[in-house]
């Protein structure tokens, strides 16, 4: 029976009553706080455990017995004042002593509303983290950038799982692929990243170390920041089983607006035997009763089901954690499926009076994806879908093949193969089949020997191995640009391996009563074998000997077989010292020296990275107003760096695929230059304040990062080697910004609590310098080539300038045209110029939790402000006359666009003429720039906790969960949070990417 328990909480040291002590019924969200006189009152039943917690005091647990009065006396505890946080190399540090910004996100914040890639759940929950999902649906990789892009080669942060750096090389986009606007012949394939193979339920907590100072101990690997993942372990004396089941229903949102007013000229004309119509575009007569719901009909309702089971057991000596998770996804694109199984076991044990601690874990995952969506113009079902000639019934094309009597083969039945980008979408999803398999095993062993109370030695070893198989069967009948008439078979097998071993000595002591010292000395060795690939492709020449027989023996030529691998080894020694004075001033010094195999043939065989940091606990140093619970000021400076790409210093000839001759190295160092490691100098200053016993807190950081000696691949200066590109050290990129996290509990009372966290970050990103040899200070990353999209780094501009042509307009905004000699007009364009920068000006994430009774409601509003994105999709849709914009133009002004000729005379062009000349993949993309600003209700969950007494089940939690519910504000015609590619060269542009999905579902969590 529920009773009202009251009591007084006081401090042991002086016996004075403590106001603002948190009193919580353990295992629930039900709690209260003591008043000014230390009194509290709470509803509880016998057997409930009351948890009394207060800043600077040891937390005390008291079980409710028969008495209605429970008084608590809290002990001072300097140590418990500090939350302990896991830092670089798995070293645990008191959070208050940190000299840099580190933000921790608890595992449950990632699992309340689950996503198939756990890192996507981080969006909006940590300041300064920008997450862009790839458009390839479930199992896709995500681009994660901490504090802005700073590097020309790689901006991925380092992921560290339980102290060991994780290999995050995927199989595809995260390498150097995925930069082309066409997509490869098989479409741009996203190989996924290793992170998407982690079971989110295994994550205990995740810490984002944004600055270089935080990650300096990781040396070259940590230059882009580090995301530390601590996985769950078994616990002493606890046996628990947790079962979690979530099911969400996924629907596409943000589809492009397609018109249904003007039909194609093909309507009513004869359809060829292969289904081809006479005119693939939709510039015909206005007709009523048309429908263009084919796009909506094409996408299916998908579902995502994640079932996970975890088990923890342990005693004082040994603890076990085991988990299994199964993820099954049916994508929104037909025949796209994902099945993933994760298995994890972690054993911890201690021997010899806890002097030796051993942890061993094995993590296995297996993921299979069928028909992973692609993006780009080629082999993408969405082009044929959106561009379907209006008025031509796409349903008639659901039967996507016909018997070609000339070849006695089933051939593709399609409206058009126009520009080689249109095919029957149902052929691409129904006939051509891809399968990719990702398997990963991570084995870790760690042993720690506590030699004395203040001296310990620890060693860790890990093997991280992943296997990727990509199997793509392209049937004859597919567009001949992409596959021969006999079909094409592509089979890639890739292995990534990382071997890591380290040895670390820890020493900590109180030098005098006032001074404390903790020091670390260590060494590590990492060997990488990445992208160890055998690529078998029957190619686009002679293809297969016997049509549509997909086996290697059937290859008609072997010019497209290839092998590749990237080997690298890094040896390191590192040390750090943390000196504390009276627990109120801390000095942190680290240093690391890396020897990297990639530096062979350069002047520097190794590189050294120091960092310095200082923290003062203001609330200990000065007498501050009572409302201030905690205040600190911190500053740090670090130099970190990055080695250079493997093999760059030893250019070799190669046998290029598709060729029979050998080829010269395509890039090399400029004559007389040598390469150096990339260098990043960063400075940050921050302050952290907590008020009224944590009712309100904020953490503010300013940082400035200068990255120099960047590795650039630039268009080669004239050379005698035939280099297409030069690899150079050059450039300077500056990032500076402010990150602010404000957390508070605006309302806390017996039956209602509101917790709220606001994450704000702004990053100002400038390319100060590229390479002196480049004209106009422009380093071209993606050249426009035959298309309308380019991507460059340009001095004085923000990182990543999207290049395109715009229409020249007069002061009234009318397009300026010139006579084309045939009675028509050619539209004047500006030439290639910067049309957009995709980086947001600032990001804002606002997460809220409400607790009342056994209910809990969470929502997250995620906003990105500023930045622009470009849509090739809209440009091509306009070109084909299928977009609503073209219908609107035809409906106004008699279907004419007002323009002005070079002499200033008013002229008119038909909408068709205008869009044919400005739209399309090679069109004037400056006309297709949209504000990337968007605010969305990213996550919503409503949970109910069912507490069960005296049963095997401890509690059951039901929640309704929703992800990507709706946009509160959005200007772009697609979801700007989705990128065409996580590679460098295709940022801020949509090229027929899969639309984003809205997921709504149910989650059930049962604790035994």
């Amino acid at each position: 029976q529920v009773r009202t328990i009251t009591g007084v909480v006081s401090a042991q040291s002086d016996g004075i009553a403590l106001p603002g002590v948190n009193v919580l019924i353990k295992g629930t969200a039900k709690g209260t706080q003591t008043d000014y006189d230390g009194n509290y009152s709470i509803e509880a039943v016998k057997g409930d455990v009351l948890e009394f917690s207060f800043m600077g005091m040891k937390t005390q647990l008291i079980t409710v017995q028969d008495s209605n009065t429970v008084n608590a006396v809290l002990e001072d505890d300097a140590l418990s004042l500090d939350e302990v946080i896991v830092t670089a190399l798995g070293i645990k540090k008191e959070k208050k002593a940190l000299t840099y910004s580190a933000q921790e996100v608890k595992g449950d914040a990632l699992t309340t509303v689950k996503q198939t890639n756990p890192i996507n759940s981080l969006s909006g929950k940590s300041s300064g983290v920008t997450i862009t999902k790839s458009s390839s649906g479930a199992g896709g990789s995500s681009k994660v950038v901490l504090r802005g892009n700073s590097s020309t080669t790689n901006n991925d942060p380092l992921y560290v799982v339980d102290g060991v750096p994780m290999l995050n090389s995927g199989n595809g986009q995260n390498g150097d692929g995925g930069n082309g606007i066409f997509g490869s012949d098989a479409g741009n394939v996203d190989g996924g990243d290793a992170l998407s193979l982690i079971n989110p339920d295994d994550i205990e907590s995740l810490t984002v170390l944004k600055g270089a100072s935080a990650s300096a101990l990781y040396g070259s690997q940590g230059a882009n920041g580090v995301i530390l993942i601590t996985t769950k372990s078994g616990k002493d004396g606890k046996l628990s089983v947790n079962f979690n089941s979530s099911l969400t229903i996924d629907n596409v949102t943000s589809l492009p607006e397609l018109q249904s007013e003007y039909q194609s000229n093909s309507v009513g004309e004869a359809v060829a035997i292969n289904g081809n119509v006479t005119d693939p575009k939709s510039w015909g007569a206005k007709t009523s009763g048309l429908s263009n719901d084919y796009a909506k009909d094409f996408f299916e309702t998908g579902f995502t089901s994640i079932q996970s089971l975890s088990l923890m057991a342990g005693n004082e000596k040994a603890q076990t954690y085991m988990s299994y998770a199964n993820t099954a996804v049916n994508g929104v694109v037909p025949n796209n499926r994902l099945i993933r199984n994760n298995f994890n076991v972690k054993e911890t044990a201690s021997f010899f009076d806890n002097k030796i601690n051993v942890t061993a874990s094995v993590n296995l995952s297996d993921q299979r994806i069928w028909n992973r969506p692609v993006n780009g113009l080629y082999s993408n079902p969405l082009t044929g879908l959106y561009l379907n000639p209006v008025g031509v019934d796409l349903d008639a094309y659901k039967n996507y093949e016909y018997l070609n009597t000339d070849t006695n083969m089933m051939d593709q039945y399609a409206t058009s193969f126009d520009e080689n980008i249109q095919q029957n979408p149902y052929w691409l999803t129904g006939k051509n089949q891809t399968k990719d398999i990702a398997q990963r095993v991570v084995a870790n062993v760690s042993a720690k020997y506590q030699i004395t109370d203040n001296f310990s030695v620890q060693s860790r070893a890990s093997l991280d191995k992943s296997f990727f198989t990509y199997d793509n069967r392209v049937y004859g009948g597919t567009d001949l640009t992409l596959s021969p008439a006999t079909g094409r078979y592509m089979l890639n097998k890739t292995e990534n391996t990382q071997q890591y071993i380290d040895l670390i000595a820890n020493y900590s002591t109180d030098i005098t009563e006032d001074f404390t010292l903790s020091a670390v000395l260590g060494t590590s060795l990492t060997k990488y074998k990445i992208g160890d690939q055998i690529s078998l492709d029957s190619g686009n020449g002679k293809g297969l000997t016997y049509p549509n027989v997909f086996t290697i023996a059937n290859f008609a030529e072997t010019n497209n077989l290839s092998q590749s691998v990237v080997n690298r080894e890094v040896q390191s020694i590192f040390a750090s010292a943390n000196l504390g004075y009276k627990n109120l001033l801390f000095l942190d010094v680290t240093g690391r020296n890396d020897w990297s195999s990639t530096l062979v043939n350069t002047d520097s065989h190794s590189f050294f990275y120091p960092s310095f940091g200082l923290t003062g606990i203001l609330s200990e140093m000065f007498e501050l107003p009572e409302a201030v619970t905690f205040a600190k000021l911190r500053a740090s400076y670090a130099i970190v760096g990055k080695d250079i790409p493997a093999y760059a210093t030893i250019p070799l000839n190669s046998i290029p695929t598709g060729q029979t001759n050998f080829g010269k190295p395509t890039f090399g160092v400029i004559e007389g230059e040598t390469l150096e490691p990339e260098k990043q100098n960063s400075f940050e200053i921050g302050t952290e304040w907590r008020f009224i016993n944590n009712r309100l807190s904020f953490d503010l950081t300013y940082y400035n990062t200068k990255t120099t000696n960047q590795i650039f691949y630039i268009t080669a200066e004239p050379n005698v080697h035939g280099y297409v590109q030069n690899i150079v050290n050059a450039g300077e990129i500056e990032n500076s910004g402010v990150e602010l996290t404000v957390a508070g509990k605006p309302i806390v009372n017996d039956n209602f609590t509101w917790e709220s966290t606001l994450n704000f970050a702004t990053n100002n990103n400038k390319v100060i310098e590229v390479h002196p040899s480049l004209q106009d200070g422009e380093a071209i990353i993606t050249a426009p080539g035959v298309n309308g999209y380019g991507y460059s780094l340009i001095e004085g501009e923000d990182f990543g300038s999207i290049r395109g042509r715009s229409v020249v307009r007069n002061e009234d905004g009318l397009a300026v045209v010139a006579d084309d000699g045939a009675g028509g007009f050619s539209i004047q364009d500006t030439g290639f110029e910067t049309i957009a920068h995709a980086q947001p000006d600032f990001t804002l994430g606002w997460s809220n939790s409400f607790y009342f009774g056994n209910f809990q409601v969470n929502f997250l509003i995620d906003g990105k402000f500023g930045g622009d994105v470009v849509s090739v999709t809209e440009a091509v849709n306009d070109f084909y006359g299928v977009s609503q914009a073209t219908a609107d133009a035809r409906n106004t002004n008699g279907g004419m666009i007002d323009v002005v000729d070079v002499n200033g005379n008013a002229q008119q062009m038909t909408a068709q003429d205008y869009y044919l000349k400005t739209g399309g993949r090679a069109g004037m993309l400056g006309e297709y720039v949209y504000d990337a600003t968007n605010v969305s209700l990213r996550e919503l969950s409503v949970g109910y906790n069912l507490m069960l007494e005296n049963t095997v089940i401890d509690n059951v939690r039901f929640s309704l969960i929703a992800n990507n519910l709706f946009f509160i504000y959005k200007d772009a015609p697609f979801d700007p949070n989705i990128a065409s590619s996580t590679g460098m060269g295709l940022q801020g542009v949509d090229i027929y990417g899969q639309p984003s999905t809205r997921s709504i579902g149910l989650n059930i969590n049962v604790n035994f």
Binding site: K281, S562, W595, T660, N661, D820
Partner: protein
């Protein structure tokens, strides 16, 4: 710990690469370097590379072919809006796959210290000239004589300097290779129809010298006749029975571009001339139109017209069996006869008679393509090119502005005789549009129709037609200072309307 880094060099060496030392096996450091040169004078794969290197430039501007595809909304090379993203390929193929390999051969031979290796340098030079005169005929000034030196490699030659170097290198090769006529060392590396026969390579080089001599005849008649007469009197002889082509091992890119992709069709001028002359070679060069409305006719497309969709002209005549084998033609024996005919017409010594060479040229071309009826053809003094009638749009119709005939008219004016020679040479050189475009620019023959739609913004005169391609983006981006100097070598601004050095307006005589 630093001692543990001793294997770093091994680790940092790409196991799938080929070192230069490894290439010395079976002399591939020399012989293997010929392969990329053979495959890139005309790029053979991938087909889109050839499309940008040649097909959307010379093949179109020569009147040979026209795409039915309105690339980039029909605002592209065909309508004189020069697409920089396309037009860099002739340059990058040459500087990525020809020039550096020729230098490698030179260096490897110098390093080997064996005097008999010199033949490889001369052979490489012949190939290099074959490639680079084509590049120069597109842009004008090129990087050539100073290419081999790191310090000066970025510097351009004027086109006149480059041609002077071509003549020097060809002359030296023809003379020096005489001593190697029995040497068989080149045979395993020779991918051409010449089969490693050095005597044949001398004939090819000598024929090439005559081609280049004729190219400069308007700008520098003295140089032209001096070089041309060297060829005419050389003991090397000319290609007469053998056409020079490369056995590439790849399908001719035109089969892919025309067949698989449907991205190029017969040009209007080809239709006018082949149909007007009732020329049997049309059946080899092209396929009848698939459009049922055209009833199996050979139907071409005029370049630079309004095209809204590929489907409109897509079923016009595609490229025929001439490109069906895995070979790439560099120079036909027929072309050499026509060069000799023009030399005779110009009165160069040892040139023989124009009519005889002209008729031999036509016979060689008919023979090359296995077409019969050459005697009747040569006797035809009535047939003239047809006026062009567009199958879909009468605004593209245009009269053929000449009544040139087939039978050689010895009593005609020099211009009339030259028009006959060049018109027949134009037919015979198919499908090498680059060379045909150069000869059109030099002589004005055959009569290429002007574009209908001109999107050049006034830089290219519709009637004067396109004369060159502007310098490539990459060079401007990385080698801007030298490009600026090279622009100074031109007779006008860096655009498509400026004539090259050898391209002199006015009559041919």
């Amino acid at each position: 710990l630093a001692n543990c880094t001793s294997d770093f060099e091994d680790i940092n060496t790409d196991p799938n690469g080929i070192s230069n030392e490894s290439l010395t096996q079976m002399n591939n450091h020399i012989g293997g370097s010929f392969t990329p040169m053979f495959l890139n004078v005309f790029n053979v794969t991938p087909a889109w590379n050839f499309q940008l290197q040649q097909n959307l430039l010379g093949d179109v501007y020569s009147g040979y072919m026209t795409p039915p595809t309105p690339f980039a909304g029909n605002v592209n090379n065909m309508t004189y809006s020069l697409v920089d993203g396309w037009n860099g390929f002739p340059w990058s193929d040459a500087y990525g796959s020809v020039m550096p390999f020729a230098l490698d051969i030179k260096n490897a031979v110098a390093l080997g210290g064996d005097a008999s290796g010199e033949k490889f340098v001369h052979l490489a030079n012949i190939i290099r000239v074959t490639a680079m005169h084509r590049v120069s005929d597109i842009y004008g000034p090129i990087r050539y004589t100073k290419f081999d030196d790191f310090e000066t490699t970025g510097e351009y030659d004027s086109q006149s300097e480059a041609y002077q170097a071509f003549f020097t290198e060809l002359g030296t090769a023809i003379d020096e290779l005489k001593a190697f006529e029995d040497d068989a060392q080149f045979a395993p590396f020779d991918m051409s129809s010449l089969g490693g026969d050095i005597a044949m390579w001398r004939k090819f080089a000598n024929s090439l010298r005559l081609r280049l001599a004729m190219r400069v005849v308007k700008v520098d008649p003295a140089l032209a006749s001096a070089e041309g007469e060297k060829s005419l009197s050389s003991d090397a002889g000319f290609l007469e029975a053998t056409d020079m082509y490369i056995n590439t091992g790849f399908a001719h890119p035109l089969t892919v571009i025309s067949g698989s992709w449907g991205d190029v069709r017969m040009g209007a001028e080809m239709e006018s001339i082949l149909e007007g002359f009732d020329d049997g070679r049309k059946e080899v060069y092209f396929n009848p139109a698939e459009d049922p409305a055209l009833a199996g006719a050979y139907k071409g497309i005029r370049m630079g017209i309004e095209i809204e969709a590929k489907g409109q002209y897509g079923a016009h005549s595609s490229i025929g069996s001439v490109v069906d084998s895995e070979t790439m033609q560099w120079m036909s024996a027929a072309e050499v006869y026509f060069l000799r005919a023009e030399a005779a017409l110009r009165g160069w010594s040892n040139a023989g008679t124009a009519q005889e060479h002209y008729e031999n040229g036509v016979r060689a071309s008919f023979g090359q393509h296995g077409v019969s009826g050459v005697d009747a053809y040569l006797a035809d003094n009535v047939s003239t090119p047809n006026d062009f009638v567009d199958a879909l749009n009468a605004t593209n119709d245009i009269a053929y502005p000449s009544d040139v005939t087939i039978a050689y008219n010895t009593s005609g004016t020099n211009e009339e005789q030259l028009e006959q020679i060049i018109t027949q040479k134009w037919i015979a050189m198919f499908p090498d549009g680059q060379e045909a475009w150069s000869e059109f620019r030099r002589t004005g023959y055959p009569r290429i129709f002007p574009v209908v739609v001109n999107n050049s913004g006034g830089t290219i005169d519709t009637d004067v037609q396109i004369r060159r391609i502007n310098f490539v983006e990459n060079e401007v981006n990385t080698n801007g200072d030298n490009v600026a100097i090279a622009v100074g070598y031109l007779n006008g601004p860096d655009n498509g309307g400026t004539r090259l050095w050898w391209d002199i307006d006015g009559s041919n005589f």
